[in-house]
Amino acid sequence: MKFYVRLFLATFTLSAFTFGGGYVIVPLMRKQFVEKLKWIEEEEMLDLTAIAQSTPGAIAVNASVLIGYRVAGIKGAIVTVVGTVLPPLIILSVISVGYTAFRDNRIVQVVLKAMQAGVAAVILDVVYGMVKDILWERKKLMLLILMTAFLAVFFFKVNVIYLILVSGLLGFVSSLKRDREDDAS
């Protein structure tokens, strides 16, 4: 029971303090569940992120379902989903009552503006760590996909679905090739 409470609180606080959608909350989940709680391994977390990315719907919801399922089965998935959905549900319900006042409040505006820089620092800190890991592995294909995918998303605004499909296919083909080389030797 205590475990479920911890699981619920972890996702609830993440969701309550995360502004800016799936790409922001996923690195934070990684920090929480991989680095701090150590419930999930690094590589597994990236796989779960890829699955969350290819599932329709909000990435934050998908990721929390996967993490909950991983650490405590179906029950865990229900706990993490409720934890993720409750903060926006409560906050939006409160705001929908008096939203014009909230939107025009000067203090609300400056605090949110300042938080953008903090959120960017958090995301890029996570990216820095993960890029370093990939450089360490020295796998040419992974580096190639990393750079091409970045150019495609950042500069050419390519739809992420195509990126997921193409990079998955590349990984699949390279594993087939590796198998054949293993058989030949």
Binding site: T18, F19, G21, Y23, V26, L28, K31, L48, A50, I51, Q53, S54, T55, P56, G57, A58, A60, V61, V65, L66, Y69, R70, A77, P88, L92, I95, F102, R103, R106, I107, V110, K113, A114, A117, G118, A120, A121, V122, I123, L124, D125, V126, V127, M130, V131, I134, K139, L146, M147, A149, A152, V153, F154, N159, I161, S167, G168, L169, G171, S175
Partner: protein, 188 residues
Amino acid sequence: MIYIQLFWSFFQIGLLSFGGGYAALPLIQEQIVEKNGWLSMTEFADVITISQMTPGPIAINAASFVGIQLGGMFGAVVATVGCITPSILIALTLAHLYYKYRKLTFMQGILQGLRPAVLAMIASAGISLAMLAFWGGNQISFDLGSIDLIAVFLFCAGFFALRKWKLNPILIMVGTGVIGGCMYLFTS
């Protein structure tokens, strides 16, 4: 029956929006504004504004907002549950397959290709956000005159604190919000 309509509309939004976040916007607009006329276009724009200023996914925020306007608290819950049901079913199926076939080479191959691609997407989102904070837009202008020095300071301080002391990210966000908020208030 408004609750069934709410559930079904947001079920479709949840099922069809791939890629998260902004990918869901046109779908929400189609269901909420055009098909059912539950919100006017102005109200829809307000929902987006609020979503950007509050935590949580845009689709969930829209579900809560529309749901409560049409059917009170219960309406908000019904719309939210509708929105997340497809995600839960599909994510659980994929998770099951993942843990069953993870040890197979082809599955590992696919995932090895996916990992750097996902990392690239996160990097892209992070840089866009930093640029939004520094220049207020998505363009790199290299115009040092228009750069927001407070935002650059907050970013560097946050990044340093995370690297050096491994501080809790939520603490970093709240900290930059409070400190930076005061700096903006006193300099403008």
